[in-house]
Amino acid sequence: MSTTLDSKVPSGTLDKKWDKHRGESKLVAPNNRSKFDIIVVGSGLAGASAAATLGELGYNVKCFCFQDSPRRAHSIAAQGGINAAKNYHNDGDSVFRLFYDTIKGGDFRSREANVHRLAEISLNIIDQCVAQGVPFAREYGGLLANRSFGGVQVSRTFYARGQTGQQLLLGAYQALEQQIAARTVEMYPRTEMLDLVLVNGHAKGIVARNLVTGEITVHAADTVVLATGGYGNVFYLSTNAKGCNVTATWRAHKRGALFANPCFTQIHPTCIPVSGSYQAKLTLMSESLRNDGRVWVPNKKGDSRAPNQIPEKERDYYLERKYPSFGNLVPRDIASRNAKEVCDDGRGVGPGGLGVYLDFSDAIRRHGESTIRERYGNLFEMYLNITDENAYETPMRIYPAVHYTMGGLWVDYNLMSNVPGLHVLGEANFSDHGANRLGASALMQGLADGYFVIPSTIANYLASQLGKKVSPDRPEFKAAEQEVRDRIKRLLSAKGKKTVTTFHRELGLLVWDKCGMTRDAQGLNEALQKIPAMREEFWGNVNVLGDGEEFNQALEHAGRVADFLEFAELMCLDALERNESCGCHFRTEHQTKEGEALRNDNDYCYVSAWEYAGQEARPNLVKEPLAFENVKLTQRSYK
């Protein structure tokens, strides 16, 4: 094994590391910045905020997104809020507490220094967003309002109705558009990155396809920043947007970037249950609903009475019963597993018994319908529209769905992968959430990475690259471009019988079954047997119509599914190798007597970073040991 990992975590006490690092980091002088070209792939919270800020600093930025406008990136769908340790509620919050909650919530599988930096920066993010005009909720006195969120006991979540992600993204998007107008950023919408180009081992460009014309182009730069989101759509059904995919990070992985903790996938407890096989995606109902909604199922198995016909004493408010101090606000992984457990027990509600109630009748009695409407009006409307049921009158039905992926490309403290010059931000990297992400932390991380971390740390790489510009005419670019063309040709020439969606759905069902809310060695081994066969069938029997030189959505989807078919195997392998339970990774072989995840800190207190070893070859596992100097590893307890 050749690769070793240096996390580049600065020395010194935890709360001084980031300060110290900035003080010691290299700088690129303002007059030199325009000599550097930076490619940013993705325009969500992390990508847009990075592109805008790097452009503002004076670098030449090219930003790519597959949507028709950078404003449509899937960050826009985040509902609930964004955390910051402002302690505006005077309820005992602090930077350390946010750090601790995030580390604990992640079940002690993330890097202390990164998480502490995230907690520190959370303060700056709120300031920045307010100054940009993000219309956060306010108190009558005009100051910012907060609410509490799953997994914590303080009120530190800032929100803009149920559209916090939208408003934060629009803030970043507007900053990006300002830089586009200033010509520091050149925007490439409807353009998908299909490969990473390495020159002498450094990331120096990308191959991209114009999704309207089908034209394949190469782009050279001094450094590449990936902010391409998570891989939740490997499960086919998820709360991700239809277009979300693993292609950019998977291509980078195949070029040498290590993929860390791919088995850490978060299943969100509050989604609208599946209604049929035609379904294209699942819809999330914000976790903030658990502040006022009470989760329950009937005591009796197979109780088919309408919810209001079931008397109070025949209901099991199982979260409140099992976790008296956190109740309905336990972290997502615990809420999800408990929902699965009661449904597996035959007490689920709704079609197929795959659902639990989220009941607002107590909150409506206590606060009045208008307060509840003000807090969650748009969510109740959304629920009504999709299910034809009025949640002010009857409890919502919810069930867990894939929502977020904590795993991602391995990065060091500078957010650079093991491939020099390749930086990875937001959900696309692995760094901050460990084995489970707490609510309202994804937006925080995306913006921390984009607005505040990468603008400082990117200079550590760039400062060494002055005068080392590469030309896109180099053979490395030609070769990568040719590989992309060949692959498209292969996809189009299979001319098989099965549609891309059929393959995607089959893969999704398999990994949901074997590598979903619970996993075990037997199931994972089965999946590892089946996935290569599926992949082989895909390349022989996929049906992609049309050609490559046109707007061709089936071809786009085919390329993404082909990558999911490779990635899924790594995800299952990682889940098999991690022979412990932690956070969202619940191996049924490893649980406490109460059915909670049982970690094995002696053997698995590390980041699993996988190195690509060639097509159909077993990847190499590289371990980054996790050292905890400031927190004590404990069995998580939300009782």
């Binding site: 402002k86 920045q128 529209n385």
Partner: protein, 250 residues
Amino acid sequence: MNFKLKVWRQKDGRSPGSFKDYEAKDIPSQASFLEMLDILNEVLSERGEDPIAFDSDCREGICGMCSLVINGVPHGPGKGTTCQVYMRRFKDGDTIWIEPFHAAAFLPVKDLVVDRGAFDRIIEAGGYIDVRTGSAPEANALPVPKHDADLAMEAAACIGCGACVAACPNSSAMLFVAAKVSHLGLLPQGQAERDSRALHMVRKMDELGFGNCRNHYECEAICPAEVSATFISRLNRDYIVASTKAAVSV
């Protein structure tokens, strides 16, 4: 459920398009409109026919990417976006006409897909508050009256889908521009650039070929984010004030 569809097919932006007939069979009533098209596209692909191109991404009504005109109405029946229309709204056997958003400033791409990049150009012209990253003051240093913040949020809710333009007989983008000018103009942070923002965004809108507002209010009726047309009055006021100031100061 079964439906007869009349779908606009257009190879690309240079070729002429036309309506073609399709049959959507065995569609579950709980399926969304776009899922109905997904099912049809699977059938077409299996038959070796080019699937129908349409835009969508989040499929939960917030990204603003989906953009169909259904039976002459942008985003189809009910409030909300195309992706939030469910087939139970139609009657079994209905004939449904499906077209892209039509407007001079929205260029056709393929079938039901159009290019709404003009909206990005308008935002570029001034739809932002200029704040250098890292230079912001403490967030609670500047109280914002709850009423103003709530009203700003109502305007900021715009999802940039372009239905307002598609619904307007003049293809005006006034509601889109008004939403952004009002969102930022209502907040104390947005005051410094309030005049220039209104001037530049309106000028850009005109330059890009969007029509003028004649107070039809089709935009308000169709807006999936329920952005109120009263924001247009606010835009007009800001624009007049800014133009007057600009004229006087020359």
